[in-house]
C-alpha cells in the first residue's frame, strides 16, 4: 500500500479494524457525514501534539544531560534511570505553580501571548515529511513558503507578551528578540530560494525526493552555512539567545510569566528548536533518506533516520551552547544585515547562474 499522508494511514487502519464503516453509517444516519473525517483530523492533531510534546520533553532532558557532561557534571540523576523522568517532574512543578499576573499587565494580551507563540510552533510541522510512504500530515504544494510564513508569527507572541507584562526588562527583551527574529528570517528565506531554484518545487516532499542521490548540503555549501547561522538565531540559542539574555534582562520577554503560561513559552521554544532542526534536515540533509534496513517497514526506518538527523543537529546547538558566549545585540544585528543578507543574495545569484547555465 502506498499512502499519501497520515490521514490516509489512519483511515486505512480504522478501515481495516472495521471502525470506519461503522462510524460512517452512524453519522450518515444522523445527517453529519463529515464527522468521520473530522474525527480522523482530530486524531491527527492529537498525534502531532503528543509527538511534539514528547519530543520537547526528550529535548529538555537531552539539553540538561549534554550540558552537564560538557561541564564535567552528571545532570539530573535522581528521577529514575539517569533522570529520565525529570521533564515529567518539571511539568508537574510548573502545573502546580501559582499563575501570577502583574497588577498593571494588559490582561488579555498577557493571557493570549503564550498561545500565539506556541501554536505556530506546532503548525510548522504540517508539511514536513517525517518519513517515506506518507509519514507527512499534508504535502502542501507551497510547503516551504508555508513553513516560513507560519514560523514568522511567533515573534508577534513574543512582542505582545513583552509589552503586556508592563516590565522594562520584558519590553527590552521582547524588542531585542523581535529585532533578531526579523533580521535572521530574511537570510533564511533567501537561502531557501537557492534550493527552490534547483528543485523547481516549493513542496518539502519534492525537495526531499530530489536529494536521494546527493544532499543539498553539498550542492549549497554557502547556503547551508548561512542557513545554519540563521537557524541558530531563529532557535534563539547561544550565541544568539537575545530572547532570554538572562545575565542582562533576567529572562527577557517572559520575565513576568510563571506557571503554565511560562510552560507554554518554554514548550514553544523547544518546539521551535525541533521544528527548525527538522526543516534543516529536510532542506540540507536529505530528510528521511538513509540506508533502509530489511525486515523493518521502510516508513519506520525513514522516520528513524529523520529523527537521528534532527537530534544530531540539536546536539550541535547544545554543544555550541556549552562552548561559546553570547553575542551583543548590536553585533547580532550587524552580522544579520551586513554579512548574512549580502552573502545570501550572493548565494542566490550564483545558484541562479548555475541553474540557468544548466550545471545544476
Amino acid at each position: 500500500m502506498i499512502f499519501e499522508n497520515i490521514y490516509e494511514i489512519i483511515a486505512f487502519i480504522l478501515n481495516s479494524a472495521g471502525i470506519l464503516q461503522y462510524m460512517q453509517s452512524y453519522s450518515d444516519a444522523l445527517g453529519i457525514s463529515i464527522a468521520p473525517k473530522l474525527i480522523i483530523i482530530l486524531i491527527e492533531t492529537a498525534l502531532l501534539l503528543v509527538g511534539v510534546a514528547l519530543m520537547v520533553m526528550a529535548l529538555t532532558w537531552m539539553e540538561r544531560k549534554v550540558l552537564a557532561h560538557a561541564q564535567a557534571r552528571l545532570g539530573p540523576m535522581i528521577t529514575w534511570y539517569h533522570g529520565l523522568l525529570q521533564p515529567v517532574i518539571d511539568g508537574v512543578k510548573l502545573l502546580s505553580k501559582e499563575d501570577l499576573m502583574p497588577k498593571r499587565a494588559d490582561r488579555w494580551i498577557y493571557f493570549i501571548a503564550p498561545m500565539i507563540a506556541f501554536v505556530p510552533a506546532l503548525l510548522v510541522f504540517i508539511p514536513i515529511p517525517f518519513g517515506r510512504d506518507g509519514a507527512i500530515i499534508s504535502d502542501l504544494p507551497m510547503g516551504i513558503l508555508y513553513v516560513m510564513a507560519v514560523s514568522a508569527i511567533s515573534p508577534i507572541g513574543i512582542l505582545i507578551g513583552g509589552w503586556a507584562s508592563d516590565n522594562k526588562y520584558s519590553l527590552l527583551g521582547a524588542l531585542r528578540a523581535v529585532a533578531q527574529d526579523i533580521s535572521y528570517e530574511i537570510p533564511m528565506v533567501l537561502t531557501v530560494i537557492g534550493i527552490v531554484l534547483i528543485t523547481g518545487s516549493l513542496s518539502l516532499q519534492d525537495i526531499v525526493l530530489f536529494q536521494d542521490k546527493i544532499w543539498f548540503v553539498f550542492l549549497q555549501p554557502l547556503g547551508f552555512i548561512i542557513f545554519l547561522v540563521a537557524a541558530v538565531a531563529e532557535m534563539a540559542r547561544i550565541p544568539f539567545d537575545l530572547h532570554e539574555s538572562e545575565s542582562e534582562f533576567v529572562a527577557g520577554f517572559f520575565t513576568e510569566y510563571s506557571g503554565m503560561k511560562f510552560a507554554f513559552f518554554f514548550l514553544a521554544e523547544y518546539a521551535h528548536l525541533f521544528s527548525i532542526a527538522a526543516i534543516m534536515t529536510t532542506l540540507y540533509f536529505g530528510g528521511w533518506h538513509g540506508p533502509m534496513i530489511p525486515m523493518i517497514p521502510p516508513i519506520i526506518t525513514s522516520i528513524g533516520w529523520f529523527t537521528l538527523k534532527v537530534l544530531v543537529i540539536i546536539f550541535f546547538t547544545m554543544w555550541l551552547r556549552a562552548t561559546v558566549p553570547r553575542v551583543r545585540v548590536d553585533q547580532i544585528l550587524d552580522i544579520g544585515w551586513k554579512v548574512m543578507i549580502p552573502l545570501a543574495l550572493f548565494n542566490v545569484f550564483i545558484t541562479g547562474l548555475l541553474v540557468a547555465g544548466g550545471v545544476l
Binding site: 564535567a72 539567545d241 562552548t323 558566549p325 553570547r326
Partner: protein, 367 residues
C-alpha cells in the same frame, strides 16, 4: 514625529549578574547607557565597627567574611597590620606557608572571576571548570585548617597549625596538574572570536583615570601600569621569590582578563617555590602570641596585594586589648568607582562584561 526620551532602568539588587546585592540605577537612551548610579550598602554589616569591640585575635574570623572568595589574603592583611603595629617577627616556615596559601587563594579568586565573567557573557561552562579546580584548592585548605571558606588560618605570630601528613604530596600533584588545566581554559576562551567581540575595546579605562580613581590590582595592570605591591612595596618573603608583575597595555576588558590568566601561572610558580621551601624548612610555624594582647599605642597602615587589588588595613590602637579604630581599604570598592566612566555610552551587555571583570565581592565592597 517620534518622540524619544531617556528612562531609568533599575538593575538589581536581585539580578543574575550583579554578583550579589549590588544595585545599579541606569539612565538609558534605548539600549545605550547614559549614566550609571550605584547603590551600595545592601550587604553592610558594620565590620569596621565590630572590630572596635573585639580583641585583635577575635577579629580575624571577621576578615574571612570580607572578600569571602579569598579569605586567606584577608587574614594576612589584618595579621600583617597587627604584626607591624606590635613588631612581631614570624618564623620563616610560617611566612612561606602564608605565601603558599595566599597564592593558591589568588588562583581560586581569578578562576571564580573569569568563570563568573564568562557566565555573564553567556558561556556557562567555564565557571564549573573553575569551581572544579577551586575545590581541589579548598581540599588542600581544608586539610590545613579544617575550613573551606572561612579559614581563620593566618594569625599574628605565624599560622594556626603546621602542615598535615600528605599535604606536600597533594599540593605537588595540584601544582603539577594545574598549568595544563589553565592551558585548556585559555584554549577555550582566549582565541574565541565571540569573546574578542565581547571583551575587546569594552570598558576602556586609561592609566591616568585608573590611578586617579584608586583602581589597583589586575584592573590597573590591565591598563598598562606595572604596580604590584608584592614588587613595589615587598612584604613577607616576596623579595626572596622569583616572579614578575603581569601587565597589558590595552586598557580594556580583554587585557584585564589576560592579566588574570597570566597571574595564575605566576601564582603557581610562586607557590612552587614556596612549597619547596616549606618542604625543607623545619621548626615551629608560630611564635607565642599572648592571650591578652596589648599592642603599643599608635597607628599603622599596612597594605598587601590581594587578588582583587590593594587591600589595606588601618589600625589605630590606644594600647588596649581592642583596636580603637579599624579602617579597611577594600580593593573592589575603589575599582567599582571607575565603572560609571568605563561603561558610559556602551550597551547593557557591555556593562555586564565590564562589571564582571572588575571582580567584586559584595562582602568586601559593603563591609
Amino acid at each position: 514625529m517620534a518622540r524619544t526620551e531617556e528612562y531609568q532602568l533599575n538593575v538589581g539588587p536581585v539580578h543574575p549578574s550583579t554578583h550579589g546585592v549590588l544595585r545599579f540605577v541606569l539612565t538609558m537612551d534605548g539600549e545605550t547607557i547614559k549614566d550609571t548610579e550605584m547603590v551600595l550598602g545592601q550587604l553592610h554589616r558594620g565590620i569596621e565597627k565590630i572590630a572596635e569591640s573585639r580583641s585583635y585575635l577575635q577579629f580575624i574570623p571577621y576578615t574571612d567574611r570580607l572578600d569571602y572568595i579569598s579569605g586567606m589574603t584577608n587574614n594576612y592583611g589584618f595579621t600583617k597590620a597587627v604584626e607591624d603595629l606590635a613588631g612581631i617577627t614570624v618564623p620563616k616556615k610560617a611566612e612561606y606557608l602564608r605565601v603558599f596559601v595566599m597564592e593558591l587563594n589568588r588562583i581560586v579568586n581569578h578562576l571564580v572571576c573569569i568563570g563568573s565573567l564568562l557566565l555573564d557573557l553567556g558561556a556557562a561552562t567555564m565557571i564549573i571548570y573553575g569551581f572544579r579546580e577551586r575545590h581541589k584548592v579548598l581540599d588542600l585548605f581544608e586539610s590545613l585548617c579544617g575550613a573551606r571558606m572561612t579559614f581563620n588560618y593566618i594569625r599574628p605570630g605565624g599560622v594556626r597549625g603546621d602542615i598535615p601528613e600528605g599535604f606536600i604530596d597533594n599540593a605537588k600533584e595540584f601544582l603539577r596538574d594545574m598549568p595544563k588545566r589553565i592551558g585548556d581554559y585559555a584554549q577555550l576562551i582566549n582565541d574565541n572570536e565571540i569573546v574578542h567581540m565581547r571583551m575587546k575595546g569594552v570598558g576602556m579605562l586609561s592609566p591616568e583615570d585608573a590611578i586617579n580613581y584608586g583602581v589597583t590590582g589586575p584592573m590597573l595592570r590591565g591598563s598598562g601600569v606595572s604596580y604590584d605591591i608584592r614588587k613595589d612595596d615587598p612584604y613577607s618573603v616576596y623579595e626572596e621569590l622569583d616572579f614578575k608583575a603581569c601587565t597589558r597595555p590595552e586598557c580594556d576588558t580583554y587585557a584585564r582578563y589576560i592579566v588574570r590568566m597570566d597571574e595564575m601561572y605566576e601564582s603557581l610558580y610562586i607557590a612552587e617555590q614556596a612549597l619547596d621551601k616549606i618542604e625543607h624548612l623545619s621548626g615551629s610555624v608560630n611564635t607565642h602570641f599572648p592571650r591578652i594582647f596589648t599592642p603599643p599605642e599608635g597607628e599603622v597602615y599596612s597594605r598587601i596585594e590581594a587578588p582583587k587589588g590593594e587591600l589595606g588595613f588601618y589600625i589605630a590602637s590606644d594600647g588596649g586589648t581592642r583596636p580603637y579604630r579599624v579602617k579597611i581599604r577594600s580593593p573592589p570598592f575603589c575599582s567599582l568607582q571607575a565603572l560609571p566612566q568605563m561603561v558610559e555610552g556602551l550597551k547593557i551587555p557591555d556593562l555586564v562584561a565590564a562589571f564582571g571583570i572588575v571582580d567584586i565581592a559584595l562582602g568586601d565592597v559593603d563591609r
